[in-house]
């Protein structure tokens, strides 16, 4: 579950990004100042990239640009090495490889039954019915909601609807899955169980980009973090970015307990200078007792 086992890779020579935005500029209203300009970001294959920042800081806008749901005023988005052309064909090519799951599941659920809804994306990819059927079954299995296959969508709970929408994206077999606030509205147990599912997806090769307000969550799960507030405040390994109290404050976030406790423990010599920060309160307690 924790990202500890993945972390060492971030220090190595970075592989070619699977998805990248270069010098992106965007504004919703042409008469007003853009949400951001000259924003660049790289997503490495197999990683979890957390995007953090205050409301209105541009998180959702960036995710939508990367998924082809908005067209940048300038700059380029590249997927698997080739730049996206902003015509219908180019955008559809991008959407085949990059799937965006919105925060509100009701924005993406349109069908009355779960199986019908999940089949929508694969059918749009032009797959034959038999392949679609097996994709749907696999996606439901992957999300742990096989038993909901025959359920009507309007009788599902919020958490279940979130999973159905995720299954709809997963069934399209994207290289990159972008999730806007996937844990919003879930209780802590729901968050844990969703994280386990997402971790399973990542293990089977999906790269994840996740926006969140939860610094602690990003800290223990993601490899790299992008701090956004109208522009990039910082981007790099979570320990560097989220461990920097000034950066975190500039992004109007609450500092994570882990780095703060780690810093304090190191300063009193209870933690080696190169050891990772504790990820939970229990780890702090163990170090103290030790």
């Amino acid at each position: 579950m924790t990202a500890a086992e993945h972390r060492p890779t971030t220090g190595a020579a970075t592989p070619d990004p699977v998805l990248a935005g270069h010098d992106l500029a965007f504004g919703y209203d042409p008469d007003e100042a853009p949400v951001f300009s000259r924003l660049s970001v790289e997503v490495h294959p197999g990683e979890v990239l957390a995007v953090l920042g205050p409301n209105g800081g541009g998180k959702t806008t960036l995710l939508r640009l990367l998924a082809g749901s908005l067209t940048p005023r300038s700059g380029t988005v590249s997927v698997e090495g080739s730049a996206v052309r902003w015509n219908r064909r180019g955008v559809n090519e991008l959407r085949r490889r990059v799937q965006l799951v919105f925060q509100d599941p009701d924005d993406q659920l349109f069908s009355a039954s779960v199986t019908q809804d999940v089949s929508f994306g694969p059918l749009n990819q032009g797959l034959d019915r038999e392949t679609v059927r097996s994709r749907v079954a696999w996606a439901l299995e992957e999300l742990g909601i096989t038993e909901l296959a025959e359920h009507p969508t309007h009788l599902l709970s919020y958490g279940q609807r979130k999973r159905v929408v995720l299954a709809g994206a997963v069934a399209m077999l994207p290289s990159v899955l972008i999730l806007d606030e996937p844990t919003a509205g879930l209780d802590p147990a729901g968050v844990e169980s969703l994280l386990e599912t997402l971790e399973g997806l990542r293990r089977s090769g999906t790269t994840l980009v996740v926006s969140t307000h939860d610094v602690d969550l990003a800290y223990r799960w993601a490899e790299r973090a992008l701090l956004l507030n109208g522009g990039t405040l910082g981007c790099g390994p979570v320990a560097d970015v989220l461990g920097d109290p000034e950066l975190v404050a500039a992004a109007r976030l609450r500092p994570a307990w882990g780095p703060a406790a780690g810093k304090a423990l190191r300063s009193v010599g209870l933690l080696a200078p190169d050891a990772p920060d504790p990820a939970t309160a229990d780890e702090v307690a163990a170090l103290l007792r030790h």
Binding site: R64, A67, G68, S69, N92, R95, R96, Q99, L100, F102, D104, D106, D107, Q108, L109, F110, S111, A112, S113, T115, Q116, D117, S119, F120, G121, L123, N124, Q125, R129, V132, R133, V136, E150, H151, P152, T153, H154, L155, G168, A169, M172
Partner: protein, 248 residues
Amino acid sequence: MLAIDAAAYRSPWRRTHPAVKGALCGGLLVCALSLPVWPGAALTTVAALGLAFGPARVNPRTFARVAAPALVFILTGAATLLVSVGGESAPVAWDPHGWHRALEISGRASAALWCQLLFAFTTPLAELLPRLSRIGVPSALVEVVALIYRMVFVTLDTAHRIGTGQAGRLGYASRRAWIRSVGSLGGTLFLRSYDRAQRMQRGLECRGYTGELTVLLEEIPLRWRALSAAAAVPLTVAAATLCYGVLL
């Protein structure tokens, strides 16, 4: 949220092909409307209610609650037949034949109502609507109708929450406040619906939407044996009624 809808998804007949239920309930409906009320409507009532509370396991309390408004309509409507107006003796008078007509019409209509409810309580719309395109309804219309069905629940939910919020702020405490509340609720719902459509547009585009809402339809096999068994029920009712007419 909607009692019939929730019950239809729990129905043991949910997996039966809609055509089978259509043959059963439609056939009974034809019996109720076209056969002599006695014993046609009575036999239809027995068949429809027996199937509903027997094999279809419909909850009688829910059934009664849902049927009540329609029954009230039938009874008030029938009650008007008891009087006659504009006669020569008095402006309003009892119609001597009124009882007979009122009884006939309420017997017929209530029998028909049970057939309608039997179908509604066992057939989720989600499994009925997509099949409409197979009987020649334009696919664009079928897609819009299926969307309406999905969005009805989202909108009902919104309406319910806003209504609860208004009630919490005493929005239904007086008639005046009530009218003000319903008005602003209706307006807000329209704006939300519009907004919802736009957001769904964006959300579905990410899933490759280019104008067609094609989905995989779960196949329900149409069994001829089930279809003939379903058709046998109204045929039996019809035969019994006709025999009764001939014999007496």
